[in-house]
Every structure is written in structure tokens, then in C-alpha cells.
């Protein structure tokens, strides 16, 4: 409001009242949106934590035999790679995000003379890679939701700190000015009337 010139008119007062009415109606909606976004982000963060625990559990289960993966005879890295992470667009708390669907792997065919442990390693790696891909999708969801949350918070701040107080101040000031003007008009009219009466008498 600072520096902004107020038009002291009835039209402007009506406009400011409209702004105040809309702002007071929008504020709870943005507050609800903020709550919803925060709750969704927390739920996603919890899911990420669950997946991390699952990854740790799988790593621990593989610990007794993980040494075999350094087998000088086999380059396990050449057996498996991620071709594509499959996702689908969904709306979460009003934000369009990618939801994890699955992973398409490139898996080298296992020959008869391939050591047996390779089968187990590929199985484990597929599971872990799927979980990691899900985490990446969820982290991206959080990033997008946090962006939206910042935007919503900025709007709430705008309504709480500027639009609503400014509209209220403008309405009050315009009201006072209009009242003053009215009083002045009445007083002037009275003076004119009195002067006219005195003129007639003389």
C-alpha cells in the first residue's frame, strides 16, 4: 500500500471491498492446499524411508554371499542394466507428477557355463534397482510438491500481509475521506444558505 495512491471514490471503495471479500475467501483455500501438500510430502517421505529400509534389509540378507560378486571370472555389470524406468502421469494434491510403474531391464541371456550365483545376483539387482527407481520418482515428486508448496506459501503470505491489510486500510481511509467530504459539503451548504439568508435580510 505504501507509495500506492488511493482513489478516494465510492467505486474504489467498492473495488477494495471486493478484493477483501475474495481474499478472505481464497485464504482458507490456500491454507488447506498448504496442509494437503505438507501432508502428501510427509507421506511420500515416509514411503521413501520404508523403501530405504527394504533396500537395507535386502543388502543385509545378501551380506553372507556378496563376496561372490567380486568373482574374477564374471563381470556381473555386463549382465544387467536399466533400459527405462516406466512411469505414468498422475495428479497429487493438484500437482502433475510421475508415478513409478516399473523398470524395463536389459538382461544378458545366461549361458549354460555361467556360474549359478549370477542368477541370484541378477534377481537381487533387479529388486534393488526397482526400489531405487521408485525412490527417484518419489524424490522428484517431493521436489515438485515442494515447489508448489513454496508458491502456495508465498500466496498465503501475500494475502495475509498485503492484500487483506491493504484492502482494509484502503476501505477505512476511503470511508473516512468520503465522510469528511460529506461533512464538508454539508457545512459549505449551510454557510452558503446562511449567507444567502443574510443577503436577503440586508
Amino acid at each position: 500500500m505504501a507509495g500506492q495512491k488511493i482513489k478516494y471514490t465510492k467505486t474504489e471503495r467498492a473495488r477494495q471491498k471486493k478484493i477483501l471479500k475474495v481474499s478472505l475467501r481464497m485464504l482458507p483455500l490456500f491454507e488447506a492446499m498448504e496442509k494437503s501438500l505438507m501432508s502428501t510430502i510427509n507421506t511420500i517421505a515416509e514411503r521413501i524411508e520404508e523403501i530405504r529400509q527394504e533396500i537395507d534389509k535386502n543388502n543385509k540378507a545378501a551380506e553372507p554371499w556378496v563376496a561372490v560378486m567380486s568373482d574374477s571370472h564374471v563381470d556381473i555389470k555386463s549382465f544387467i542394466s536399466v533400459n527405462k524406468v516406466i512411469t505414468k502421469h498422475i495428479d497429487v494434491a493438484g500437482v502433475r507428477v510421475d508415478q513409478y510403474e516399473g523398470v524395463d531391464f536389459n538382461v544378458k541371456p545366461i549361458e549354460d557355463d555361467t556360474p549359478l550365483w549370477v542368477d541370484d545376483a541378477i534377481e537381487l539387482m533387479q529388486v534393488q534397482l526397482q526400489l531405487m527407481a521408485e525412490i527417484e520418482c518419489l524424490e522428484e515428486q517431493i521436489r515438485l510438491l515442494e515447489e508448489e508448496l513454496l508458491d502456495v506459501r508465498a500466496r498465503i503470505k501475500l494475502f495475509e500481509n498485503r492484500r487483506i491489510p491493504n484492502a482494509k486500510t484502503a476501505i477505512r481511509k476511503i470511508g473516512q475521506k468520503l465522510q469528511d467530504d460529506e461533512r464538508l459539503t454539508i457545512a459549505t451548504a449551510k454557510v452558503v444558505k446562511t449567507s444567502q439568508k443574510e443577503g436577503v435580510m440586508v
Binding site: 561372490v68 555389470k77 549354460d112 534397482l129
Partner: protein, 160 residues
């Protein structure tokens, strides 16, 4: 053969494969060395289909048949019927399974070696055992973890 250090299952290889190959090249005749070259614990035949030693080839083929049976049984969700490999490998974890298979190979080589002292077969078996020890010695928990991590969680390429 008498100049080569003795080998026992599970020990750290006392010589490298390169040292063995150099030694064999200098000690064996060209004909014998040529026969030694295709001998490989991982392959019943070389790329040209040559068999180093028939008994070794038979052992490796039988082992591969059992491995194929384990794979087929897993797909069909049934208990595998093993012909040659020890039954203990069915329920062992992948590391123990490889060790049991290598132990079985080592013992099979004992049978192949019976009565073959100071012959080319003796040298062939020595090469195979050295391969087994090298492989066995490559199993390392920390390195294995690193290999797993490099596949599952590879370092992210920095965006330019």
C-alpha cells in the same frame, strides 16, 4: 612339475597364472604346451572346439548338466535331481554354492590325477587348480559390496 609349489584348496595362490604359463612354456615341449593351452576350468572345449583332456571335459560337461538342472528346477519350482554335484549345493547360499562346486571340482581333479604323476595330465590339473584358487581368492566381501553398489547405485553423472 617338481619345481612348482604344491597347492591345497582354499590357500592363496602361490604363483600367478602368468608365472605358471611362462614356466610351462620353458619346461614343456612345444607340442605339450600346445595341448596345455586349451585346458580351462571354465570351458569344456576351447573356442575351436578342442578338448584339452577328455576326462576334464567330461567332468565339466557333467557339472554343467547339473547346473542346467538346478536352473530348470528353479523355473519349474521343483527339487533338482543332481547327478554329480553334491546335494548340499541346493540349499547353500550363492557363495557357499560356488565354493562347494569348486571343492567338488578339486576332488574330481584328484580322481583324474590318480596314477598320473609327472605326466602332462599332472601339469594340466595343476593349471586347473591354479584357476580354481585364483577364482576362490577373488571372492572378497568389500569388493563384492562395491560391485553390487556400482550396479544398483551408480555414481550420478554430473550435468554440464
Amino acid at each position: 612339475m617338481s619345481s612348482l609349489p604344491s597347492l591345497s584348496f582354499g590357500q592363496v595362490p602361490p604363483i600367478t597364472m602368468e608365472e605358471f604359463t611362462q614356466d610351462a612354456k620353458s619346461q614343456l615341449s612345444a607340442k605339450h604346451f600346445k595341448k596345455l593351452e586349451p585346458v580351462d576350468i571354465y570351458k569344456a572345449t576351447d573356442s575351436e572346439g578342442k578338448v584339452g583332456l577328455k576326462s576334464i571335459s567330461v567332468m565339466l560337461n557333467e557339472m554343467q548338466n547339473d547346473i542346467s538342472e538346478i536352473r530348470a528346477a528353479k523355473t519349474q519350482k521343483r527339487t533338482p535331481g543332481l547327478q554329480r554335484l553334491p546335494q548340499a549345493i541346493i540349499n547353500a547360499n550363492p557363495l557357499e554354492r560356488e565354493k562347494l562346486i569348486m571343492r567338488w571340482q578339486w576332488e574330481e581333479l584328484d580322481t583324474i590325477l590318480a596314477g598320473e604323476m609327472f605326466t602332462l595330465t599332472d601339469v594340466m590339473v595343476y593349471k586347473l587348480r591354479l584357476q580354481i584358487l585364483n577364482r576362490l581368492n577373488s571372492f572378497d566381501k568389500e569388493q563384492g559390496k562395491q560391485v553390487l553398489a556400482s550396479v544398483v547405485n551408480p555414481p550420478k553423472k554430473e550435468e554440464v
